[in-house]
C-alpha cells in the first residue's frame, strides 16, 4: 500500500460517521433502484411466462347463448384468430358448511378431458377431472386455502337456482385471475370470492346449455393482437344474433389490466425515487469533497511540488469517491435484493402466480453499481476540480478569504439590529456558504417529498374507503341478480327477516359515445329518493339523481370530453339495445369505477323496459341473529348471482391494502430519515470544522459545549425547516403526479393533504435533524480546543 493510500485510510477512519451518512444515502438510492427494477422484472417476467403457460386469451366475447357449431363457423372466417374456446360462464353463490359469510364465485367450464386450452389452468393440488363423477369441481387455490378445502371434500354451489353438491378433485390457478376481483371489488378478496371450474358436460346439464356456450375466448396472431378493436367489432356484428353483451380485448380484461397498470406504476416509481436519493447523495458528496480538498489545499501543493502529477493527486482524491461509490453500490445492491424479496412477497399476496419469487438481476445490480460510482465520482471530481487546477505555489499559500463581508441582510440595518448576536452568526453562515445552504435545502426538500408522498398515499386510501363506503355506498348488503327481475323481487326481499329497507338497482352496461370519443362502461339506475346510494361531489356534498338524464362520474366525463349540459349517445347491452341520446345533467365524484347514475324509472324506459331490476341494495337490522338468518336466506334466494356485505369489503381493504401499505410507509420514512440525517450531519460537521477557531473562542469565553452546539443546531434547523416547508408543496405535486400514474378508470386515488400530514412531516424532519445533531454534539464534546486555536489550516 502506498503512503498516500495510508493517508487516505487514516482520513476514512477519522471521518467515518460522515462517510457512513453519505454511503447510506447512496446505498438507499441504489437499493430503491435495484428493488424496484427487480420487482418490476419479477412480476413482468413471471407474468409473461405464466401467460404463455396458460395460453392467455387475447379477447373474449360475452354472449347470451350461442350454439357451438355456429360459433365455430363464424370464427372460421377469422384467420387472425389462431385458437379459441367456447365456454360456459356464470356467477354463483357458494354455500360452505359452517361458514355464515356471504360467498360468491365465478363458474367456468373446462373440457372433461385435460388438454392444453386457451386460458388453461395450472393445478396446485389434487388432479384434473376424473371419469368417476360428473359433478367434479376444481377450485381456485386461494379460496380453497382460506376455507381449508382439500381435494376429496364436498362443497355446495347454487347453480342455476339449484343447490348442487360437488366433489373437489383439485385446486388450481389461471393466468386470467392473477388479480381476482369479485363484482364491484377493487382488491382481491379470496376469502369471499373464488373460481369454480366444472366439467363442460356437467355445466351443459345444469345450465341447460347443451351444445352451447355464452363466452368465446381466443388468441390472435401477432399483428392484430396489439390492435384488436376492429376485429372485435366485426366479431361482435357476426355473433350479434346470439345476443352479444360485449367484447373485451385483453387490455380491458380486469385482472390483466390491474396487473399491467401496477407494473407501469412500478416503472414510474423506479424513475423517480432513486433519482431523488442519488441526486441528494451526489450533492452531499460534492460538498464533502469540496470541503475535503479545500482543507488539503496545502497538501495538494506539496504533493505537486514533490513531483506528483495532477492525475496522481486527482486520483488520490477520486479514490475516496470511488470507495464511497463502491461501498454504497454493494450495500445498495444487497439491500435492494433483500427489499425486492420482501416487496415481491407482498405482491404475491395480491397477485396470484404459480410462483412469484425474487430473482437476482445482475444487470440491475450492475446498473445500480454504475449509477452509484458515477454519482460518487461526479460528486468527488466536481469537488476536487478547483483545488487541482491551482499551481503548487498558489496552493501552498493560505486560501484567499471567502467573501467575508457583510451579507445582503445586513444592509437592512433596522431589521439586522433585531437579531441577537447568535442569530447573526447563524444568518451570516447560512448566507455565506450559499452552495452548502442550497444543498441542505435541496436535501430537506427531497426528504420531505418522500415523507409527504408516503403519508398522502396512506391518507388517500383511508379517505377513499371513507368516501366510498360511508358516504356513497351506505347499504349493508348488495345483491346482484342473474337476470333482470320484475319489481316483485324487490317486495319479496323487503319482506325477508332482518331487512330494514331495500332499494332496486338497474345496472345497464353500455357504450358511451361523444363524437370521436367512446367508452364502455355502465349506468346504475337508482331511485331518486335513494338513501342507500348517495352520489356526491368531491367536497362530499350530496347530489340528486336527475329524473331524466345522467349524473356522470367525473372521470368518464373527462374521457368522453363532455360537460354538464352536453349530450352523449348510449348503446346499451340490455333491453332493446337501441342507440339513444341523452343529456349529462351533472358530474359526480367517486373513486371506484366510473359509476354513472340515472333515475331507476328513467333508465328502465330508456332501455325500453318497465320496472325491471338487476339487483338490490339493502340496509339490515342491528340484531346479529336476524342478520345471520337473512344471510342464510339470501344464499338460497333463487335468481341471485352474488351477495356482498359492505363490512367485508371494508375489512378486506383495511386488512390488505392499509396494512401492507403501512409497512411500505415505514420503509419510506426510514429512507427519508437517511436523507435528512445524512445531509444535516454532513453540513454541520463541515461547518463545525471550518469554524473550529470560532467555536474554540466561545469555549474559552466560558460557553459550555451544549451552548456552542446550540449555535450549530440553530443553523442546521433553520436550513432544514425552510427546506421542509419548501418541500411540502413539492411533495404534494409529486403525489399528484404519482396518483395520476397509479390512477386508473377502475381505481382513482384521491389526493389528500391534511394538517396532520404536514405536522407529522415537520416533526419527523426536526427529529432527524436532532438525531444528526447528537453526533455533531459528540464531536463538540470531543474537540481539542487548544489545538483548534493553535492550528492554522
Amino acid at each position: 500500500m502506498s503512503t498516500l493510500d495510508r493517508k487516505l485510510l487514516r482520513e476514512f477512519r477519522a471521518t467515518w460517521i460522515r462517510l457512513m451518512a453519505i454511503i447510506s444515502i447512496i446505498a438507499v438510492g441504489v437499493a430503491v433502484y435495484v428493488e424496484l427494477s427487480s420487482v418490476y422484472n419479477n412480476i413482468s417476467l413471471t407474468k409473461d411466462e405464466y401467460y404463455a403457460q396458460c395460453k392467455m386469451a387475447d379477447f373474449s366475447v360475452e354472449l347470451k347463448k350461442a350454439p357451438l357449431t355456429e360459433i365455430d363457423q363464424v370464427i372460421e372466417d377469422f384467420p387472425q384468430v389462431t385458437e379459441f374456446r367456447s365456454r360456459i360462464h356464470f356467477f354463483a353463490t357458494v354455500d360452505l358448511d359452517g361458514v355464515s359469510d356471504l360467498l360468491n364465485g365465478e363458474v367456468l367450464s373446462l373440457p372433461d378431458e385435460d388438454s392444453a386450452v386457451v386460458n388453461d389452468i395450472v393445478l396446485e393440488r389434487g388432479s384434473y377431472f376424473t371419469g368417476q363423477r360428473d359433478n367434479e369441481v376444481i377450485i381456485h387455490d386461494a379460496f380453497a386455502r382460506y376455507h381449508n378445502l382439500r381435494p376429496g371434500t364436498w362443497i355446495h354451489l347454487i347453480l342455476n337456482n339449484r343447490r348442487q353438491e360437488l366433489f373437489v378433485v383439485g385446486t388450481a390457478l389461471s393466468s386470467e385471475f392473477v388479480y381476482l376481483l369479485g363484482p364491484g371489488a377493487v382488491t382481491p378478496d379470496p376469502k369471499h370470492f373464488g373460481v369454480f371450474y366444472l366439467k363442460r358436460s356437467f355445466a351443459e346439464d345444469v345450465y341447460d346449455f347443451r351444445g352451447a356456450a355464452n363466452q368465446v375466448i381466443g388468441r390472435l396472431s401477432p399483428p392484430v393482437r396489439d390492435r384488436p378493436d376492429a376485429l372485435l367489432q366485426l366479431l361482435d356484428n357476426r355473433l350479434s344474433t346470439y345476443g352479444v353483451y360485449g367484447t373485451t380485448p385483453a387490455r380491458d380484461q380486469l385482472s390483466n389490466r390491474f396487473l399491467t397498470e401496477e407494473i407501469e406504476g412500478i416503472a414510474t416509481f423506479s424513475n423517480i425515487l432513486p433519482f431523488i436519493f442519488l441526486s441528494v447523495a451526489a450533492l452531499v458528496l460534492n460538498i464533502m469533497m469540496t470541503r475535503w480538498t479545500e482543507q488539503q489545499r496545502t497538501i495538494v501543493g506539496v504533493l505537486k511540488a514533490l513531483g506528483y502529477s495532477d492525475l496522481q493527486v486527482g486520483w488520490h482524491f477520486l479514490k475516496l469517491g470511488l470507495m464511497i461509490g463502491f461501498v454504497g453500490g454493494v450495500v445498495g445492491a444487497v439491500l435492494g435484493f433483500v427489499l425486492a424479496e420482501f416487496v415481491t412477497s407482498i405482491y404475491a399476496q395480491f397477485y396470484e402466480f404459480p410462483e412469484l419469487t425474487n430473482r437476482p438481476y445482475p444487470s440491475a445490480m450492475l446498473v445500480g453499481m454504475g449509477i452509484s460510482l458515477a454519482c460518487a465520482l461526479a460528486g468527488a471530481a466536481y469537488g476536487a476540480r478547483k483545488v487541482l487546477k491551482l499551481r503548487p505555489a498558489e496552493a501552498m499559500r493560505p486560501k484567499p478569504p471567502a467573501a467575508g463581508g457583510a451579507i445582503l441582510l445586513e444592509r437592512f440595518t433596522k431589521l439586522w439590529k433585531q437579531f441577537g448576536f447568535s442569530s447573526r452568526l447563524v444568518l451570516r453562515s447560512v448566507f455565506r456558504n450559499r452552495f452548502r445552504t442550497l444543498a441542505g435545502l435541496f436535501a430537506a426538500m427531497m426528504g420531505t417529498c418522500i415523507l409527504i408522498t408516503g403519508f398522502m398515499m396512506q391518507a388517500s386510501i383511508v379517505m377513499l374507503i371513507d368516501f366510498q363506503f360511508r358516504l356513497v355506498q351506505r347499504s349493508d348488503r348488495d345483491l346482484v341478480f342473474k337476470d333482470e327481475q320484475p319489481i316483485d323481487a324487490l317486495y319479496e326481499i323487503r319482506h325477508l327477516p332482518g331487512v330494514d329497507w331495500a332499494e332496486p338497482v338497474l345496472d345497464v352496461s353500455c357504450t358511451f359515445r361523444n363524437g370521436p370519443y367512446s367508452h364502455r362502461s355502465g349506468i346504475q339506475g337508482i331511485v331518486t329518493s335513494s338513501v342507500l346510494t348517495l352520489p356526491r361531489d368531491e367536497a362530499g356534498n350530496r347530489l340528486r339523481v336527475p329524473t331524466s338524464g345522467l349524473l356522470m362520474s367525473r372521470r368518464l366525463a373527462e374521457i368522453l370530453h363532455v360537460k354538464p349540459g352536453g349530450y352523449v349517445e348510449i348503446e346499451p347491452t340490455r333491453g332493446d339495445r337501441r342507440v339513444r341520446k341523452t343529456q349529462v345533467v351533472a358530474v359526480a365524484d367517486g373513486y371506484l369505477g366510473l359509476s354513472t347514475y340515472a333515475d331507476f324509472e328513467f333508465l328502465n324506459s330508456f332501455i325500453g323496459e318497465e320496472n325491471t331490476l338487476t339487483g338490490a341494495t339493502l340496509s339490515v337490522s342491528r340484531s346479529p341473529r336476524e342478520v345471520r338468518e337473512l344471510d342464510r336466506e339470501l344464499k338460497r334466494l333463487p335468481g341471485v348471482q352474488s351477495t356482498t356485505a359492505r363490512q367485508d369489503s371494508i375489512d378486506n381493504l383495511t386488512e390488505t391494502v392499509i396494512e401492507t401499505q403501512s409497512i411500505l410507509i415505514y420503509l419510506l420514512i426510514g429512507f427519508a430519515g437517511v436523507i435528512f440525517f445524512g445531509s444535516v450531519l454532513n453540513s454541520s460537521l463541515i461547518n463545525l470544522a471550518e469554524r473550529a477557531p470560532e467555536a474554540a473562542t466561545f469555549r474559552v469565553l466560558g460557553y459550555g459545549p451544549w451552548e456552542v452546539g446550540m449555535l450549530y443546531l440553530r443553523e442546521s434547523m433553520v436550513v432544514n425547516l425552510v427546506g421542509t416547508v419548501l418541500g411540502i408543496p413539492l411533495g404534494y405535486l409529486l403525489s399528484v403526479a404519482m396518483t395520476e400514474a397509479y390512477g386508473t378508470d377502475l381505481f382513482r386515488i384521491p389526493v389528500v393533504i391534511t394538517n396532520a400530514i404536514v405536522i407529522k412531516t415537520l416533526l419527523l424532519s426536526v427529529f432527524f435533524a436532532l438525531a444528526a445533531h447528537m453526533f455533531v454534539q459528540r464531536s463538540i464534546h470531543k474537540m481539542d480546543w487548544l489545538a483548534a486555536l493553535k492550528v492554522k489550516e
Binding site: T3, I299, L306, G307, D310, E394
Partner: protein, 251 residues
C-alpha cells in the same frame, strides 16, 4: 568534517569550469489582483551553476520565495525565460514540468508543509516513492538527527523537528537541485548549524546545486555566491572566493 584543503579541492574546479544548470533571463512575475497588477519580480537575469551553493537574501516581501518557486517549477514566470537543458520552464507543458519537479528538484518549504496524518517516516516516503534513486528513508531522517522520531506525527513534533523532517524529505529524493526556503528559521543555533553543514556538504560532496533563502546574512559566508533581492530586483551578486564552512560561522 571537511578540512580547508578538501574544501579548496572541491570549490576550485567549480570556479574554473562553471557548468550552467539553469539560465534565468529577464524573469518577471506579476500578480493580477482584480484591476491592479503587482509586479513582485522584475527582470531577474542569472545563471545557476551545477554544484554551487547559492544564498538568496533580501527583506521580507522582496520576492525570494517567488523566485525560488519559479526556479523549482512550482510557479511560472510571467516574463522572461528559465532555461533548463535548453527548455524553458515558463512555457513547458504541465507534464514536463511535473517530471522536472519529480526528478530534478527537492524543496524545503518555509512553512514545512508536512502531511498532518502521516508520520515522519511516511512524510519522507511520500517523496521517495516517486523518485528514481531515492535515499533510504531512515538514513535521510538520521541525517537530520531524527532517527528517534521516525514514527511521530507532525502534531507530536516541535516546529524545528517538523522543519528537519521537511529537509529530510527533500534530501531523500536525491535531487540535483535542492531549494531551501529558510531551512533554519525554526532551529536553534546548534541544530541550525548542523543542518547548514549538511546542506553545504550536499553541494560539495554530492555534487548538487543548493539554493538557500535566508534572512541571516551570516549564512551568506557559506555560499559560493550571495544574491541580494530588493523589491523584486537583483541588487547585488557577491561571489565568495573562499566560502567558510558551517563550523566557522557564527550568528
Amino acid at each position: 568534517m571537511t578540512t580547508p584543503e578538501e574544501r579548496d579541492s572541491t570549490s576550485l574546479p567549480t570556479a574554473t569550469r562553471k557548468e550552467v544548470l539553469l539560465q534565468l533571463s529577464g524573469v518577471g512575475r506579476t500578480y493580477q489582483m482584480g484591476e491592479v497588477s503587482v509586479e513582485v519580480l522584475r527582470d531577474v537575469t542569472l545563471d545557476i551553476y551545477r554544484r554551487e551553493l547559492l544564498v538568496l537574501v533580501g527583506p521580507s516581501g522582496s520576492g525570494k520565495t517567488t523566485l525560488l518557486n519559479i526556479i523549482g517549477g512550482l510557479d511560472r514566470a510571467t516574463n522572461g525565460s528559465v532555461l533548463f537543458e535548453r527548455e524553458d520552464l515558463s512555457t513547458m507543458n504541465g507534464r514536463a514540468l511535473t517530471k522536472y519537479r519529480r526528478q530534478i528538484v527537492g524543496f524545503v518549504f518555509q512553512f514545512y508543509n508536512l502531511v498532518p496524518n502521516l508520520t515522519a517516516r511516511e512524510n519522507v516516503m511520500v517523496a521517495t516513492e516517486i523518485s528514481r534513486e531515492p535515499m533510504d528513508v531512515a538514513d535521510a531522517l538520521a541525517l537530520v538527527g531524527l532517527e528517534h522520531r521516525i514514527e511521530h506525527f507532525p502534531s507530536q513534533m516541535s516546529g524545528g523537528e517538523q522543519q528537519r523532517v521537511s529537509i529530510a524529505r527533500a534530501l531523500a529524493k536525491n535531487p540535483d537541485l535542492l531549494l531551501c526556503d529558510e531551512p533554519t528559521g525554526a532551529l536553534d543555533f546548534d541544530t541550525g548549524k548542523r543542518v547548514l553543514e549538511l546542506l553545504s556538504r550536499t553541494a560539495r560532496e554530492l555534487n548538487k546545486t543548493v539554493i538557500i533563502i535566508t534572512h541571516n546574512t551570516a549564512i551568506g559566508e557559506l555560499a559560493d555566491r550571495v544574491i541580494r533581492l530588493r523589491s523584486g530586483e537583483v541588487v547585488e551578486v557577491k561571489e565568495n572566493a573562499h566560502p567558510k564552512s558551517a563550523e566557522e560561522i557564527v550568528w
